[in-house]
Amino acid sequence: MKEELLEVSDLKTHFPIQKGILKRNTGFVKAVDGVSFKLAKGETLGIVGESGCGKSTTGRSILRLINPTSGSVKYKGKEVTSLSKGELLKLRKEMQIVFQDPYASLNPRITIASILEEALSTHSIGKDKKERREIVLQLLERVGLNRQLANRYPHEFSGGQRQRIGIARAIAVNPTLIIADEPVSALDVSIQAQILNLFQDLQEQMGLTYIFIAHDLSVVKHISDKIGVMYLGRMVEYASKDDLFSNPSHPYTQALMSAVPVPNPLMKKEKISLKGDVPNPAAPPSGCTFHTRCNACMEVCKTIKPKDIEISPGHVVSCHLYDSAYN
C-alpha cells in the first residue's frame, strides 16, 4: 500500500460576482464545486477538461494561492485549508507549481540565476551566497541547461528553455508535490516532448508527485497514472489511466475521447459529437451541469445533481446512468 500524500475532499472555490459601485455580490462563479480525489506519493494525477472547467483553480486552491471556499485538502494528513501564514511557508517548500506561459512566469528584469536564488534564500537553503550559487548551477544542469547561461535574462531564452527554468525554480526547494498547470500547451510540438520527458526524468530521480493539469487528453494520458476529468467545476470521472481508457463511463469523457483528433489518417473513429458550447460557469445548468450537452440525458438529470458513484474500485463516476436508483 502506497503512502497517501494528498487527499482532497469536496473542495469548493467560489468567486463572488460583484456589480455596481458598491461592489455588491450578485452571485457566485462556482469555479470549483465539489472536487474529491486521493493521490499517493510518486503518482501522477492528470486533470483534464476544457477551458473554464475549473482545473487551474483546483490546482491553485490546493496550493492556497487561492483560498478555497469550503472542503478539505489534507497533505500528509494535515489540513491545508486552515494553515496559518507561518505554517503556509513550510507548505510552500513541499508543494510547488509550474505555469503554462513560460514568457509570463519569469520576471523579465532579473537574471535566471537570481530567479532561482530567490527560491533558495526564501527557504534558507544553502549556507551562504556561494553555496546557493553552486546549487543554482546544479539546478540548471539538472533541467538540461548550460550552467554558463546563469547570468542571462529570460528574454534571451526560447520558450522551451524558459519552461525548463520554470521547472528548475519549482524543484529548487526540493518539493514533494508539483502542480503543473498546462506546462506544455504553449510550446511547439517538438519542444513539448522534451519537457514531458524532463518531467518524467525528474519524477524518477526525485520521487516527485505530480498533479498535471492539461486540456490535451493525449498529453495527460501519456504522463498520468490517474486521471480526473472535469466539467464546469466538478470532477465527473476519476479513475486510473487504464480504467479510464478501457472503460470511459461518463458521457462527457466518452465524447472528449472521441473528439481528440488522432494523428493517423487510416484510423477513422466513430465520433460522438456534443451539441453546443460549454455553458457559462456563472449560470450553470440545473441538476447535472452536463445535461444540456449530454447524449444520454434523462429527465432526472435536469433537476437532481448526480452523486459520485464508484463503479469499480477506484473508478468514480458522477452520473445518474450508474445510479441504481434511477435505472
Binding site: E50, S51, S158, G160, Q161, D188, V189, S190, I191, Q192, A193, Q194, L196, N197, Q200, H215, L217, S218, V219, K221, H222, I223, F245, A255, L256, M257, S258, A259, V260, P261, V262, P263, N264, P265, L266, M267, K271, S273, L274, D277, V278, R293
Partner: protein
C-alpha cells in the same frame, strides 16, 4: 502499407487530373533586418493546390506557414517586407496586384479565417452587419437580399436562431460560435480558396470537432479548396488530403496524407510524429527532437535542420538540399539523394 496506399490512390483519381487552382512558385518573403541585410521568412517555396483539395501546411512557430498564407492574401504591406516570386490563382498573377484589385479578390475569390475570431471581428458592429458588409462589397445585392443571404449563411454554418444572432455583438457569442460566424463571413461570396490559419487552436476539443466537421461539410457544398495552416498533426490527419511540412521557411516534405503518416521520410517529419503522445498507443517515453526551433536569420548555410537532426551528414552543413521527388512524395533531405530525383 504501400499496397494500402495505392488502393487509396486508385479510389481517388480526381486528385490527379484536376486543374490547379493556386500555383505558388519560388515564393520568397524577406524582411529588412539590421545593417541593411534581409531575413528570409519564406525561402523559395513552391506548391500548388488543386481544385476541391484540402491541403495542410504544417510547422512550428516561426516556420513561415502563416506568412505564406498572408502573402497569398496580399496582406503583407510593401513597407513591411518584400514578396518575390509568383502566386497565381486560376492562372492570374496575384503578386504585385494593386491594393485595390487585391481587395476585390479578397473575400470573393480567396478568404481567410484566423485563430482568434474575437480579434478578427469588430466588437462594435452587430454580427449581421459584419457578414452583410462582405456580401455588399462583392455583389450588387439590395439590402433585403443581403439580409436574406446573411441569414442563409448563418444557417449553413449551423448557428441556431440566425434571425436573432444577426442582432448580437461578437462578445455575446462563445468562441465556437464566433468561429462559425467567421466561417460564414468567409464563405459568403463562395470563394474558390479558403485559407484557414489555425482555425481550431483557440477552441476546446469538443468544439474543435464541431468546427472541423463543419468545414468538411461546407467544402463539399461550396466546392472550395482549403489551405489549412496548423501545428496539430491530429487535425491534419483528420481533414487533409495532402500535407506540406515547413521548417525554417522551406517546405521540407510534401506527400499525400496517408503517405506522410505511414512513411514519413524527412527526419523532421519523423521527429514531429515521434514527439506527439498518441491516444491510441502507449509509449513510456516520447522521442523528442533535440534542440530548439531556430530564430529567423540564425542559420545562413546548409540544411537548417541539421543541428537537430541525428542523421546529419557532412554535406548537410555546407549545402542546403533540394527537394527530391520519390514517387509522389517530395523530401528536402540529402539522405534521399540516391533514391529520388531533383524536382
Amino acid at each position: 502499407m504501400t499496397t494500402n496506399l495505392l488502393e487509396l490512390l486508385e479510389k481517388n483519381p480526381e486528385a490527379v487530373d484536376e486543374d490547379d487552382l493556386l500555383v505558388v512558385e519560388n515564393l520568397v518573403i524577406q524582411f529588412a533586418a539590421e545593417k541593411k541585410s534581409h531575413v528570409r521568412a519564406v525561402n523559395h517555396v513552391n506548391f500548388n493546390l488543386k481544385k476541391r483539395e484540402t491541403v495542410a501546411l504544417v510547422g512550428e512557430s516561426g516556420c513561415g506557414k502563416s506568412i505564406t498564407s498572408l502573402s497569398i492574401m496580399g496582406l503583407i504591406p510593401k513597407h513591411a517586407g518584400d514578396v518575390l516570386g509568383s502566386i497565381r490563382l486560376n492562372n492570374k498573377e496575384l503578386n504585385g496586384l494593386s491594393p485595390k484589385k487585391m481587395r476585390q479578390i479578397r473575400g470573393k475569390e480567396i478568404s481567410m479565417i484566423f485563430q482568434e475570431p474575437m480579434t478578427s471581428l469588430n466588437p462594435v458592429h452587430k454580427i449581421g452587419k459584419q457578414i452583410g458588409e462582405v456580401i455588399r462589397l462583392h455583389t450588387k445585392a439590395s439590402k433585403e437580399e443581403i439580409k436574406v443571404k446573411t441569414i442563409e449563411m448563418l444557417k449553413k454554418v449551423e448557428i441556431p436562431r440566425p434571425d436573432k444572432i444577426i442582432n448580437d455583438y461578437p462578445h455575446q457569442l462563445s468562441g465556437g460560435m464566433r468561429q462559425r460566424v467567421m466561417i460564414a463571413m468567409a464563405m459568403a461570396c463562395n470563394p474558390s480558396l479558403l485559407i484557414a490559419d489555425e482555425p481550431t487552436t483557440a477552441l476546446d476539443v469538443t468544439i474543435q470537432a464541431q468546427i472541423l466537421d463543419l468545414m468538411n461539410d461546407l467544402k463539399d457544398q461550396f466546392d472550395t479548396t482549403i489551405l489549412l495552416i496548423t501545428h496539430d498533426l491530429g487535425v491534419v490527419a483528420e481533414v487533409a488530403d495532402r500535407v506540406m511540412v515547413m521548417y525554417y521557411g522551406q517546405i521540407v516534405e510534401e506527400a499525400e496524407v496517408t503517405t506522410l503518416f505511414t512513411q514519413p521520410k524527412h527526419p523532421y517529419t519523423l521527429g514531429l510524429l515521434n514527439s506527439i503522445p498518441n491516444l491510441e498507443e502507449n509509449k513510456d517515453r516520447l522521442d523528442p527532437i533535440v534542440g530548439n526551433v531556430p530564430n529567423l536569420g540564425e542559420i545562413t548555410e546548409g540544411c537548417p535542420f541539421r543541428f537537430r537532426c541525428q542523421f546529419a551528414l557532412e554535406k548537410c552543413s555546407t549545402e542546403n538540399p533540394p527537394l527530391f521527388n520519390i514517387e509522389k512524395q517530395k523530401v528536402r533531405c540529402w539522405l534521399f539523394e540516391e533514391e529520388g530525383e531533383v524536382s
